[in-house]
């Protein structure tokens, strides 16, 4: 009985026009997006490689683009390409977003976006007519007047239709991979293949979750028009409303000051200590850095100044370093709290879970952003130890607003006879990514089970009238 209904469902879906539409759309969009994004990656990588080769022995580092951004761009276009460190701060610039203005207006397309939005929509709409269509046409009565169990019927229809939905995805994904291989994409290098495979399996899980949701809609509705409308509204809610409101909502619940305000406050805190330092150093400055050569002042003696300022400035410099680190850590903690809150709100939507987990698998998600900034912090500490701690900048002549009008800076002893620590961004290993995304994957499985169980029991209890 299962085989009969399953085969009928497969055939019925395969010869329907909607299958052809989905197939053509997937065939056009998936391979072309993979090729376009790989091309974009290659140009970014060339840029990165050239910059990295030229600028050795500096306090500037370059972020390596993720090759798996071919499948999911995510934060790749938002994270900085270049980070320059100085003693107490870092300057980040060169986001890809600045070079791709129109793409940022219209939104970039990649495999994750196609699966999340387009196939997600088809998934819900496909499934939402499964039972409502049978009810509306009266075929449900005819089928159930025979020896078909309801459980057999719902399972066979679910699997038959789901497989038909997956065929366009599988075919176009394989074609896309073949085209990428022809373009020398290193699919079998490192963890690439495993990550791509996991991404594909995640896509299947996500689509089956939305399929179960659609099935639930179809068991609760009598007419296909109502089911389609309900499916469309739920799709909007799941793929747009929840993901889009999660961040503003988190900001309302847990407000965090903007980066600009934080920077201003940071400078104020630094200047406060710099002023105290200036008070202590002013006699030395007057003694060594004076154009006039008198009995009490020795004219311009930079070496004497550097030597004399060292012991006096040390405590203040340590205080600045410590205070700013605490300041930054506090700000980062606040931001992470808001981010985690926003991620938790977004977890109400299977589409968000899929997008975040998928991007993590592509090394372009939130987990990799954290990893990148952690690596910057590690590098900063090494750089500070080797280079930055030996440099100084003394500020003088503060006005009423606390702004310094002159400064003396340069390298202390040994500042220029050192080896710069090398920076090379290490992407997260697959096992680390999986352990971070495991709760999200389990949540997706749970949603799937809940939706399917609800659909199942709803259909089992349905009064066929």
């Amino acid at each position: 009985m299962f085989a009969t209904i399953f085969k009928k469902e497969l055939l019925d879906q395969l010869i329907s026009p909607k299958f052809l539409i989905v197939f053509l759309l997937c065939l056009v969009l998936i391979p072309s997006s993979l090729l376009m994004n790989y091309s974009s990656f290659k140009s970014n990588y060339l840029e990165y490689d050239a910059a990295r080769r030229i600028s050795k022995e500096t306090t500037t580092v370059y972020r390596e683009p993720s090759i798996l951004s071919t499948f999911g761009i995510g934060l790749e276009s938002v994270l900085p390409k270049i980070v320059s460190f100085d003693k107490y701060s870092r300057d980040m610039k060169g986001t890809q977003a600045q070079n791709e203005i129109l793409s940022n207006i219209t939104g970039k397309i990649d495999f994750i976006v196609i699966v999340s939005f387009l196939l997600g929509l088809f998934s819900i709409l496909y499934a939402s007519t499964l039972m409502s269509g049978e009810k509306e046409s009266g075929t449900l009565k005819l089928v159930l007047s025979n020896q078909a169990r309801r459980s057999t019927f719902i399972w066979a229809k679910f699997l038959g239709s789901y497989i038909v939905l997956i065929i366009p995805l599988l075919a176009s994904f394989l074609i896309g991979l073949i085209l990428l291989l022809l373009e020398n994409f290193p699919l079998f290098s490192g963890e690439n293949f495993s990550r791509v495979l996991f991404l594909f399996l995640l896509s299947l899980l996500y689509l089956s979750t939305l399929f179960s949701l659609g099935l639930l809609i179809s068991t609760r509705t009598q007419k296909t028009s109502v089911a389609l409308l309900a499916g469309f509204l739920i799709w909007i809610f799941v793929t747009f409303v929840i993901p889009k409101i999660s961040e503003p909502l988190a900001a309302l619940i847990h407000p965090v000051q903007s980066e600009e305000v934080m920077k201003r406050n940071r400078i104020q805190v630094q200047n406060q200590i710099e002023k105290e330092k200036a008070k202590v150093l002013t006699p030395i400055r007057e003694q060594f850095l004076n154009e006039k050569n008198t009995s009490s002042q020795k004219g311009w003696d930079w070496a004497g100044y550097v030597k004399a300022r060292g012991p006096l400035a040390k405590d203040y410099e340590e205080k600045i370093g410590r205070t700013l680190q605490e300041f930054d850590a506090q700000y980062e903690k606040e931001k992470n709290t808001a981010l985690n809150l926003s991620l938790n709100i977004a977890r109400l939507s299977p589409a968000s879970i899929f997008t975040h987990s998928g991007l993590d698998l592509c090394n372009t998600g939130v987990v990799d952003r954290e990893n990148f900034f952690r690596s910057l912090q590690t590098h900063y500490l090494q750089l500070f130890q080797a280079v930055l701690s030996k440099r100084f900048e003394d500020y003088y002549d503060f006005d009423e607003k606390g702004v310094a009008h002159s400064s003396h800076g340069g390298g202390g002893p040994g500042a220029y006879q050192t080896t710069y620590p090398e920076y090379r961004y290490q992407f997260l290993k697959l096992d680390a990514t999986l352990s971070r995304t495991a709760p999200d994957l389990l949540l997706l499985v749970l949603y799937n089970l809940i939706f399917f169980a609800a659909a199942y029991f709803s259909f089992a209890r349905y009064d066929v009238r």
Partner: protein
């Protein structure tokens, strides 16, 4: 003549829906092999509910349905072996051809591996045009779909057939052809329970007619009794009478 064994039997059958509506009120009914029983009544009288209960589409509030002696509620799958169903508006699967639809429902009805010719024979029997056999059903007229619906019932070859207003919306010729097929099935010894609004055709084909009102079977007449009575007048009198719930 119908034999004495009831193939379809309703015993003290009632159905009250969750919204409180009493759709069927203590119905007792028997249909024997070779007998056509027509249920007449206004919309909402309980005709379709009766058929739905026989098919276990809905559970009864009280009472029992039997098909071929099997309690439908206790063993619905076994009971459904012995019954075919034709609905008011047979839509079928529009993307499939007539033969593909027939093949699918034949398999559901336990008739696997029938030859193409076997399907064609059944469709010829119900006078479906030859050229329609391999055409997609979505282009069929209602009459053609009803013929295909009765083909599905025929191919299952069950001893009981339930029909829910099968001639509703059919043109007179198609309705006449449909009833001729039913007459043949009756001769083959099938127990036929049909709900209908068509009093004239009911009088023509039925061995017994029951009139339902507000969920109750308020009148039952045999073919012999109806020779001396005007069924139309009886029906209208019952419809005009005071509501039973007052």
């Amino acid at each position: 003549m119908p034999d004495q064994k009831p193939i379809l039997k309703a015993e003290d059958l009632s159905k009250r829906y969750e919204d409180g509506v009493l759709a069927l009120d203590h119905l007792n009914l028997e249909v024997r092999g070779g007998e056509v029983y027509c249920l007449l009544g206004a919309n909402g009288a309980g005709k379709t509910t009766t058929i739905n209960l026989f098919l276990n589409f809905i559970p009864p509030t009280t009472g029992t349905c039997y098909i071929n002696g099997i309690d439908v509620t206790r063993d619905p799958l076994e009971a459904k072996k012995y019954v075919s169903f034709v609905s008011e508006n047979v839509m079928l699967y529009g993307n499939f051809t007539a033969r593909q639809n027939l093949d699918f429902f034949a398999k559901l009805g336990g008739k696997a591996n029938l030859s193409k010719e076997a399907y064609y024979q059944v469709m010829r029997r119900v006078s479906l045009q030859e050229k329609a056999f391999e055409q997609r059903v979505k282009n069929f007229s209602k009459g053609m779909r009803q013929k295909l619906g009765i083909s599905i019932a025929i191919i299952k070859d069950a001893p009981a057939i339930l029909l829910d207003e099968p001639t509703s919306g059919l043109d007179p010729k198609a309705a006449e052809e449909f009833l001729e097929i039913l007459a043949e099935l009756k001769k083959e010894g099938k127990a036929i329970l049909m709900s209908t609004h068509d009093i004239f055709r009911a009088k023509d084909i039925a061995d017994r007619v029951g009139i339902m009102k507000e969920g109750r079977l308020v009148m039952e007449r045999t073919r012999e009794e109806l020779q001396y009575e005007d069924l139309v007048k009886i029906y209208i009198d019952y419809m005009k009478s005071e509501p039973l719930t007052v």
